[in-house]
Amino acid sequence: MKEKLKKIIRKLTWTYTPETEREASDSTVRNFILHWFPAKVTTKSISFSYSMVLGTIILALFVILTITGLILMFLYVPSVERAYWSIKDLNFVVSYGWFIRDLHRVAAHLMVAAVFLHLMRVFLTGAYKHSEKIVGSYRPLNWWIGISLLLVTMVLSYTGYLLPWDQLALWAITIGDHIALSAPLVGSAISKILIGGTIIDQNTLIRWYVAHVFLLPVIIFLLILWHMWRIRKDGGLAGVEALGTERIMQDKVVAKGKTYSLMGIVTGITPTITQYRVRGASVNASPYLTRRIIMIFILVTAITMGLALFIKAPLEEAASLMWTPNPAKAPWYFLWLQELVADTTIRTRSFTISGGLIGGILIPTVLLAFAVAWPLMDKSPDEAIGVWFHKSRRFQNALFLLICFIIIALIYVGAVMRGPSWHLYMPWQQWIKMPARF
């Protein structure tokens, strides 16, 4: 335990002291940006068919979100009296305000989708598996960081669509708050922290605003850095394992003058990878990898901008607790949860458990626990690492796809088949006409 703590502290602090000025200056190898990349990358790990470049796409979207978010911060006022009207101004008064807002929203939706697809890719290729082959690598850790990133992305989206302070925002907070309240024992304390009182008001808005524009972006940024650094530590994308990668244990001293910078943090091990000697298996990171990354950034920006021209961010009526829109629906990525909370109330003669607790808290927690424990439970052989649909993982892939299918099916039901008062309609049936207000 103590040794582990020491190890963590050593990883957090820089203990490798350069001996000469030259060594120190060499560490940020000539180019600040290029020093993120390894000197060589395997052709497999930069091939589209293996990774589908989802991670880079997500990073590009995150950059777009950061830039547009910064502009929006100049134009948005986080007060219950003015928030709604500052968004109205953004849509109708501010020059190109509508475009910046639409771009921010489209990028956010794409990011949630891309993060989910990225998780599917990593699972289906078995890229989260630990192998002894690469010394110093531990891929499950990066899987767990990835899951945290998924959660933070979801919370960022949630806090984001609360800020316009329209009907969608208000009822989303109301439902979220009541899901928290349905938790036994800690429910009311969590609700107090979330909404800052017993009713949703200015306290709530300022909390969510600060979380959305500062706290969560800082957390996600640090997690992204860690996530990308871990890929380097793990010897590259998991696809390299099949190439017979080996990391040779060497004394720290040998590595010293040569490549420390990033590697200096790796205590006692140098990432000498023998498979780089395999002919044709690897290319120089620059330009092969850097060129791809630039292309992806340009493409993602172009596509997001194109979509933002056509997909308008909605703005419902100003927030009012007096009436609830009918039907009141969450954005698509939360619809499966909304469908779950609506369907999972359990009633017996003597007691009732609210769907808010089962569908809103217990089921997502169980799913999360399974996701976290999966790398430790997966006993498939090393050959399955970094291979799409490996035959030894047929059963778990099928199970995983089934869960994904159920989630997507629930989203479909929530989006298309739920009409006023959450009645079930077939896609071809007409919804009954409901007055907008009662």
């Binding site: 009541h178 899901i179 008001d201 109330t345």
Partner: protein
């Protein structure tokens, strides 16, 4: 001499170690206290929120039957000179329920098998919970019936609602 050496090795905690533990625990304690202060500051001590007891008007202002008071999120039901108040906040996840009125009255079989007729119901738009006239749940995910609030007369003759006090279904305010 030999004994002396062993004694030198023996002390489990040297002065240096002791002081570093002491310093370390003070620093850790400081961080803990600051963390506690930060967390505690998120729990408001004063809530600038609307009161939970409020006047809703003179009895004569209320028509026979059910009236929705959106600003307070409750229904006031008048039956001759009897009044009672039912919350409009769905017990599932807090949406405002809608009033569904029926004319002619809707008839259903009660749990004892006798047909009962009612002129209105409460339907939640968020997840489809449905409540009877008296707030009892009969469909959808809501775990509890809609609570009834205590009503009483203010000295100036207005009806007061106390949303902090719930009452059972026999409660009626007679004016």
């Amino acid at each position: 001499m030999q004994e002396n050496k062993e004694e030198e090795k023996l002390p489990p905690v040297s002065r240096r170690k002791f002081l570093s533990y002491l310093g370390g625990s003070f620093i850790a304690g400081g961080f803990l206290l600051q963390g506690y202060a930060a967390l505690k500051s998120l729990f408001p001590k004063v809530l600038y929120e609307p009161p939970t007891k409020f006047k809703i008007g003179m009895p004569a202002d209320f028509p026979e039957g059910v009236r929705f008071m959106p600003e307070h999120r409750l229904f006031i039901i008048r039956n001759g000179d009897m009044f009672h108040g039912i919350s409009a906040i769905c017990t599932h996840l807090g949406c405002t329920v809608n009033l569904a009125q029926y004319s002619p009255p809707k008839t259903y079989d009660s749990s004892s098998g006798k047909p009962v007729s009612e002129t209105y119901e409460f339907h939640c738009p968020c997840h489809g919970s449905k409540y009877r006239e008296n707030g009892n749940i009969y469909a959808g995910p809501a775990p509890l019936p809609l609570p009834w609030f205590k009503l009483y007369m203010a000295p100036d003759g207005q009806i007061v609602v106390d949303t902090n006090t719930t009452v059972d279904h026999n409660f009626r305010l007679k004016v």
